[in-house]
């Protein structure tokens, strides 16, 4: 069995919001809504630390960490259990997804989700540009929507948009049931937490804090399991992005990865009409 999971290395995260923005583009998320948010743990406002500045008699206790937060794809997902009409369900591969045709818009799932990962289309969703972005059909007014781990990409052997667009390689996607996958190895090796662990929802999203991991070990759009060289510790020889991965989604690219071993850096060709 496959069980998709996400490991987020909070030590690597630089708070650039690339995952939040690429999620919004890839999934055609309406104006005023976010499926994926990068929160600042620290001060009152985004990108502000708590504590005092070290100079001029300050306490020098500045502290800040980023908390990227989206649907945690829980094993014991309360949203799935409360949905009266089976609109929210767990796929065989562990992804929690919504059937927007079934959703009646009762919002019981929003009450159930401890992470506030779900958003509701309170009015007719607006998109910028009007025809929408990305590869996912827009959802209608009156339904609840949320992160799908980019199931449309996963089904094609691609990592979620937030994962391939993370310039800090802080997001690692993979199969938690496969012991040799990077996510399994990182969870084994590093100190990881699940969000609100005490609620018993058993999320398939794990956060690394304390010691920094080497991060996502590939430069491709592809999922680890789709690579020819299955070793997650590969030096990158097989990690050159394929053409079809590229043409599948113009806004996703693996170009910003640091390259080891003398490999030629791969850059996405600029598209006319580009992304903005």
């Amino acid at each position: 069995m496959t069980k998709h999971g996400l490991v987020i290395d909070q030590e690597r995260c630089i708070g650039c919001q690339a995952c939040a923005v690429s999620c919004k583009q890839e999934n055609n998320v309406p104006m005023g809504q976010f499926w994926n948010r990068v929160l600042t743990e620290g001060g009152e406002k985004m990108d502000t630390p708590s504590g005092g500045y070290p100079e001029d008699g300050g306490s020098g206790s500045l502290d800040m960490q980023y908390q990227p937060t989206a649907c945690q794809h829980c094993e014991n997902a309360p949203c799935v259990k409360v949905c009266p009409v089976n609109a929210t369900y767990t796929r065989d591969d562990g992804i929690v997804e919504i059937d927007y045709d079934k959703c009646i818009g009762c919002r019981y799932c929003m009450a159930a989700c401890p992470y506030n990962a779900r958003v509701f289309n309170w009015d007719e969703p607006e998109h910028m540009p009007e025809e929408g972005t990305g590869d996912v059909e827009a959802r209608p007014q009156g339904v609840v929507e949320k992160c799908t781990f980019c199931s449309h990409r996963v089904d094609e052997g691609l990592d979620p948009a937030c994962v391939v667009n993370c310039p800090a390689d802080a997001r690692i996607f993979g199969d938690l049931d496969d012991e040799s996958s990077t996510v399994s190895k990182y969870i084994d090796k590093y100190e990881t937490d699940q969000l609100l662990e005490d609620r018993g929802t058993d999320p398939n999203t794990y956060y690394i804090s304390g010691e920094m991991s080497p991060g996502r070990p590939q430069t491709s759009d592809k999922m680890e399991s789709e690579l020819d060289d299955v070793s997650p510790w590969s030096d990158g020889d097989d990690d050159v992005p394929s053409k079809e991965a590229d043409s599948a989604g113009g806004e996703s690219s693996g170009s910003s990865h640091s390259v080891e071993g003398g490999e030629i850096p791969y850059a996405t060709p600029a598209k006319s009409g580009g992304d903005d």
Binding site: G42, V82, P114, W122
Partner: protein
């Protein structure tokens, strides 16, 4: 059996000037409600004060209230029947009528809360039996049908005697009345556990949720039972006093006083005992000094808390407990109103405790999917805030007016009291003595 014709009475033989004014008012409220709902359907739920953090509002708060209100009548009419007593007989039919109206109001209040009402058929085609909402859907439906059946059972022989077509062809015969008494006993035997299930399941909608603060408490279901007893009986007393005043319905003063006393006992159990039982363990565990524990135990944190416990609890309790006061109809009436209002604020408070604090509240927070009307100017919030909009208020009032309309029609078309009430409903086979 023409002899029976004179032994029952309808409360409103015909509508006078005031009656027509009342009907006009209800129709106007219903029309406004329908218009507001139509507006909400075209614009979406953006017309409400609800947003992503605070995603349930007035409709659900009032749903909780009206499920509770539907308890009183059925319990007051079925509990004595179950124990073969004809105590409170004069309230029996009115009680079931009020229960029926309230459960209809509760059910209807869900409709405007639904984002896509057109998809509601999914409840039948694709139900998930793990969902407490599916359980509640089933029990509300069952309870509504039970009330309808019970009201008809209680009155069908009298309807027949009056020649009403609502008797659906049943005849008023001695044998028929005897058989109905047995049926009433069994209906009462089913109604009581159904009422317990209704309030528990409605409580469990909230009590099963790990992500919404105080909702996740095993006490929620018993508290829902208690508040159903308080508010349901309170509403029955309010309606019977009003019906006594404005229609031919007659209240037995002694029974009214006795029910007032029972309301006091329910209030004491609910607002004093259950609340204390809920608060003490947390207050004790969270604080160290004796006075810190005590003040945390006794002093609440929100306006809704005080509106509920003092205005809706302590004050009516005192009114119903003091011997010189508690026999006055005006005192019983006022105490009942306060009890119902208090219960309403308890429901409001429950929803607020679930939504006003976000578990993960780091900046910038949660995208709202719109602005909180008049509170923030951007799409982000780290805490929940809610004020109902005029649209929500109009829709809610419209639905409540529909409930009042049902009660009014019931008073007009259903023989609401027996003139010989004491004699006619002993369920232990006591023969009618005409």
């Amino acid at each position: 059996m023409a002899a029976n014709t004179g032994s029952s009475r309808v409360a409103i033989p015909s509508f006078g000037g005031k009656g027509k004014l009342w009907i006009g008012l209800l129709v106007a409220l219903m029309a406004a409600g329908i218009a507001a709902w139509g507006y909400q359907l075209t614009t979406g739920l953006i017309a409400t004060g609800m947003r992503n953090v605070f995603s349930w509002g007035l409709y659900i708060m009032m749903f909780v209230l009206f499920v509770g209100l539907s308890a009183g009548g059925l319990i007051i009419s079925s509990a004595p029947k179950f124990f073969h007593s004809h105590r409170y007989e004069g309230f029996a039919r009115l009680g079931v009528l009020v229960s029926l109206a309230c459960i209809i109001v509760a059910g209807l209040l869900i409709l405007p809360d639904i984002g896509r009402p057109g998809r509601l058929y999914q409840f039948f085609t694709s139900p998930d039996f793990r969902s407490p909402m599916v359980w509640d859907f089933g029990i509300v439906l069952l309870y509504g049908l039970l009330n309808l059946w019970y009201l008809w059972l209680l009155t069908r022989r009298d309807l027949a005697a009056r020649g009403s077509s609502l008797a659906l062809g049943f005849k008023d015969t001695e044998a028929g009345r005897d058989r109905d008494r047995t049926l009433m006993f069994w209906t009462a035997a089913v109604a009581l556990p159904t009422a317990v299930a209704l309030h528990s399941v409605t409580g469990w909608i909230f009590a099963t949720q790990v992500g919404r603060g105080d909702w996740f408490s095993p006490l929620v279901a018993p508290v829902f039972i208690a508040k159903a007893l308080v508010s349901g009986l309170g509403l029955l007393l309010i309606v019977s006093v009003l019906a006594d005043r404005y229609t031919n319905f007659e209240v037995d003063r002694e029974e009214l006083t006795s029910l007032g006393k029972i309301l006091g006992i329910f209030l004491a159990f609910h607002v004093v005992y259950l609340l204390a039982a809920e608060r003490l363990p947390h207050a004790w565990a969270d604080h160290f000094e004796f006075w810190a524990i005590m003040s945390n135990f006794l002093i609440g944190d929100s306006v809704y808390f005080w509106l509920w416990t003092v205005v809706g609890g302590a004050v009516p309790l005192a009114m119903l407990a003091l011997p010189p006061l508690r026999k006055r109809v005006s005192v019983i009436f006022t105490a009942s109103v306060l009890a119902v209002v208090g219960t309403m604020f308890e429901g409001i408070r429950l929803v607020f405790t679930g939504y006003e604090v976000a578990n993960i509240d780091s900046a910038p927070g949660i995208s709202l999917g719109g602005e909180y009307t008049g509170i923030t100017t951007d799409i982000w919030a780290t805490a929940g805030a809610y004020t109902p909009t005029l649209v929500e208020i109009a829709v809610t009032l419209g639905i409540i007016a529909f409930g009042a309309f049902i009660v009014t029609l019931g008073l007009k078309y259903v023989p609401i009291q027996r003139v010989d009430a004491e004699l006619s409903y002993a369920t232990d086979g006591g023969k009618q003595d005409q």
